[in-house]
Assembly symmetry: C6
Homo-oligomer: 267 residues x 6
């Protein structure tokens, strides 16, 4: 059935390895229904964390990958034409607000600043969502919470959240996990042995030091999991690292050589 909120439940506990107090702080924020902003680089686990918290708090999770073409209607809903005339279709934000889900706006800086404005009435003490096209004022379900993610590395003059939006959220920082933790994650997710996982983490650390010195981003935990999966599948480590870590990261020949050399150092 359409709009069945049960589709959005997380059926099983997602694997999440906490790296600090983030789980407890999030629980306190949820307790007062404070809107939350998760900050950090790509592939460091923000999305997995929200899935884990939704599971832990036993709430449905509605995720929206934001993009610049997204209009307010894509969030809020629109009229569709039916055999019997028009029928209102709730957008993901409205669906979450009505049914008490957690609504997660992924990469919110991609959305047009001004589309983001529609979340304002949901993020102050009013907790309402006016559906102007429908002439309805939705009062948010008591369990509803809004979460956004945000990569500070991408913020620019053109694309940043307005202060009047930011100040409506509490914020948690995310980064790449410590080496030990990351090795544990790679082992768990791919099945490679701890030694191989450790070498992959070492390659990543080398690359992360190059961020801002020719690389826009470091190697993420997600990429290490890719490389580990290939190795576990029988691909030689050098080929696996080239394919999963180096080639996706950069087209610059010098950076490639430097990263390939780093791979050779460890494998």
């Amino acid at each position: 059935m359409q709009d069945d909120i049960r589709d959005y439940r997380i059926p099983e506990e997602p694997y999440y390895r906490a790296v600090g107090e983030e789980v407890e702080l999030y629980e306190a924020a949820y307790a007062v229904r404070m809107p939350m902003m998760l900050k950090g680089p790509t592939g460091c686990g923000k999305t997995r964390f929200v899935e884990y918290m939704a599971w832990k708090l036993d709430r449905p999770l509605i995720t929206v990958a934001c993009n610049e073409d997204m209009t307010a209607s894509d969030l809020v809903g629109r009229y569709l034409l039916d055999a019997d005339g028009t029928r209102w279709q709730d957008g993901p934000l409205t669906l979450a607000a009505r049914h008490g889900a957690i609504c997660y706006l992924d990469e919110v800086v991609e959305a047009r600043q001004d589309t983001v404005v529609v979340i304002h009435p949901l993020t102050d003490n009013r907790r309402v969502l006016p559906l102007e096209k429908k002439g309805e004022l939705v009062k948010a379900h008591a369990d509803f919470q809004l979460v956004i993610s945000y990569n500070p590395g991408y913020q620019s003059l053109m694309k940043d959240l307005k202060q009047s939006t930011k100040q409506r959220f509490g914020a948690l920082d995310f980064g790449y996990p410590e080496a030990e933790v990351e090795r544990e994650i790679v082992t768990h997710e791919t099945g490679v042995d701890g030694d191989t996982a450790g070498k992959l983490v070492s390659v990543a650390e080398r690359a992360r030091n190059l961020k801002g010195h020719g690389l826009d981003e470091g190697i993420s935990t997600r990429m290490l999991v890719h490389a580990g999966s290939l190795i576990q599948r029988g691909v030689p480590p050098l080929a696996a690292c080239r394919m999963a870590l180096v080639r996706p990261l950069t087209d610059d020949p010098d950076m490639r050589d430097a990263l390939d050399a780093a791979v050779t150092t460890f494998f």
Copy 2:
């Protein structure tokens, strides 16, 4: 039912702590139905003030969060396709004009300058709203009033109201409340004791002095309420302030350290 103006009544007296003559001045402006412009930084209480006045004057309040994609039709209304052909749907501005509500255009500078022009005939002595698409000339209800909010800190060459719009409004300035008043507000809204509230206000004052020296905006009263709620919930004050005051405000490492230090000074 759709468009039920009763949905827009404020059922209970909102908590509002007056900081000057603003309540009396607003009442006089409403008495002569002068359109009003509320100026001030984000999170200082402009929206709460309008809610309070709507309650006090016993008028419905229709709030529109303005954004750049908003067209004149979003304010005024449009035809919808129905089983029996097209049906006119009043927009929020028309709804307010017909039923004598207060219409509050929040962050009006976000709207395209030229969309704003549709409010002109409602803000001079004509007090009419031509629905050009429908071929109807709506005469505003005697109780109708238009209110807009405006953050002077955001005004820029691209986004400012035109003089021909500004001159149609009376204006009231809003700022952060005095320390004593703000402490009272934080205590009232979060339940923390006066001492904790006072410390939070002191942190805010420190940060507000940095506005223009590395910070785009100061810490707002709304953020203090966030921090107080977390503390009241059992989160340690340092973690609560990082999460609710510092992290949302800035990504700059030096500013963060300065703000974290300010928090440590008081807690």
Copy 3:
């Protein structure tokens, strides 16, 4: 009923205080159905003048507040979807042309230059309006006249009327009225005594001298009427002037102080 041209009649004589020969000149222009352009700053009475002339000439008046999003269809009309298929809906310009109304395009420079082009066939000796979407050629009613307003202070490289448009119009200049006349207007519109009205006019004259020296526009007659209404309502003159004259005009602290000082001088 929709499109009822009688809605657009001016029922009572509007208050208009002539400041020169403008009434006679306009009557001559109307007698030869010359399209007219009213030039002058915001709030000086151009709109009121057109209402007065429409009343005097006993013609309906259809006013369009121009904006950048306005398309040719918004002026001319469009097909609407009905239970029985599409139905043509005349736009305000077509309505006026058919029924012999005066059509007033307010702030015409706001409209896209190229949308303005649709008025060309109505403003030369052809006096026709081709409805291209409908395949109809509307011949203007003998009583039809087109009037536009225009604020020379806003003209810029991006937004100005084309010569091929301007040359189709006769033009009348409007400015702020002389002190005596303006005092009479403020007294008439607000009910304050002549002394108070005179002081308000003196404040305005001070501010108008600052135009171009930190102020984009001077204080308009409309703003004086706002201030007078508040004073008449019992608001102290200093507060009334701050709210109705100074705060709407500028956000610049120095300009505010200068204007506040001017107010204190007279009250």
Copy 4:
């Protein structure tokens, strides 16, 4: 009835005062159905000339005022939704091509260069118009001809016709008429005596010398007709010239004084 081509016939001989061989040359061009381009400043009589030629050649005339928002569909036609589904509505260009009218695209540089491309198949030896949306290939009626007007003074880098368009047309230059001829036109169109008409022409000549020295365009014949009409109506010549010649032309105070002085010299 919709789309009735008879609406587009010119019922009576329009007044046109030939200034050279333009009538004979146009007849020859029409005889070989050469597409024509009329070049010249605003208000010099290009539109009147086309009306005259359409009357003389006994062809219907379909005029399109081009603008930047005009799409290919506005020229060519579109599907409309009807009670029985969609119905094709010919645009003005298609209407003219089917019925052998003269199609006049006024101020063609205003149209997007690339919309203009749809006229190409009608302007070479194919003389067809593909209605891509309808899947029909319209073969132009043997009497069809395309005419465009073009003001060289407006051409710019952004707005000019492409060579591949220009080269499809023969071209005729138009300018302001000689003094004697223009006096005759003003007399004929307004009824003023020859002396007054001569003075108006002298004012225009003075202003035309200022083109490029502070004026974008000179005073056109159309403006002289405006002034003459007002004088004939009893408006004093000085006021009539200010209103119909000077005020519409410029907002520059120095230019106004110069032009007002020129008026005083002659009247």
Copy 5:
């Protein structure tokens, strides 16, 4: 009937005067169904050549005049609303692919680079056209071929074909014909005697030498045919050349004088 492919057959042999091996080379390219790109200045006969080849190869020819507003749907097709719901309407490209026509995209650089991308699957060994909106994969008819035209003189940074498009085509260069050949063409197309045709060609050669020295393009063969037609019609040669060769080409007074002088030299 709509979409009748027979409408697109060339009924009679078009006059085409080959200037080199282009007919044989095109036949070889068609034999291996290689997509073709015809390069050359405006009015030199590219369109006529394609018509001739379509006639010679006995294929229907579907021509699309490309423009910047053209969307992928304009090429590929779209759903139309019908009495019984939606009905798919093939676009010209789909029509050609289904029925084995030659599809000729005229002035393809005018189209948005990215709209052009839809032709890619038709121009490699797949020869398919995915109708994404319809969920159909059209396999091109064995006789289908794609031809584009391209004026290298217009290519700019903003408007050029991508290498990944260009490399899918074989290319043939076109230029103005040799003097003898061009004289033959003008004589054939207009009926003027060889001497007059020769003089017209001489004028053209003079003008073509000015290309890049004040002229954007030279005088094309098409323009010579225009001038010849007027002369044949009885227009004096000097007037005919001014109207058909000089006035359409340039607005620059000096260039006009130079070209007028060139005309006088020969006639």
Copy 6:
């Protein structure tokens, strides 16, 4: 039938000449359903490789030629209006995700960065595709895989994939094949003898050295196949090379001469 996934099966083994380990590496990546990015210049065989792998892995292949006008709806699907109201039409990405096809987004950098964001939930461990307009959460079929192609030579500041997209993919580099391999390919695809094929490859190598020295791209294998086909058809080698290799590559007269000379050297 619409949407029949069987249409997208590759019926016969496509000719693909492996140049390295790419087949084995791709198989390992597919085994763990890692999303893949194929990098390399135009015409080097990326599309053919994906077809070959789809055939080898016995999966349907749905190819999307990306372009800037492509909206998220073009990938994901949309509602169509039907006799019985609206009907959902899966887009190619949804179709592939539901039925376990390989979805190949060709030239993905052409798509708007933000449209690309819709693939994110399909490329991490969630492997879901939220159809927001329909209110459905599609779980990807176990056999589904996403592949994108990417030409590093085109990447620019405006058009590049975001790191948060790139890091979701493993990557394989493609280039032009070694001379021996390329000769084998040309022979196989065109039927020319090995000597002729070898000469064509030599011409290509010469041109590839000019990349960055006046040529934007080298001669691709696809172009050599074009030239070989013409030669096999009887076109003299010099003419075939001019038409298939040189003319499509450049409009620069000096580069043309240099390339024509290179052709003459070998033939």
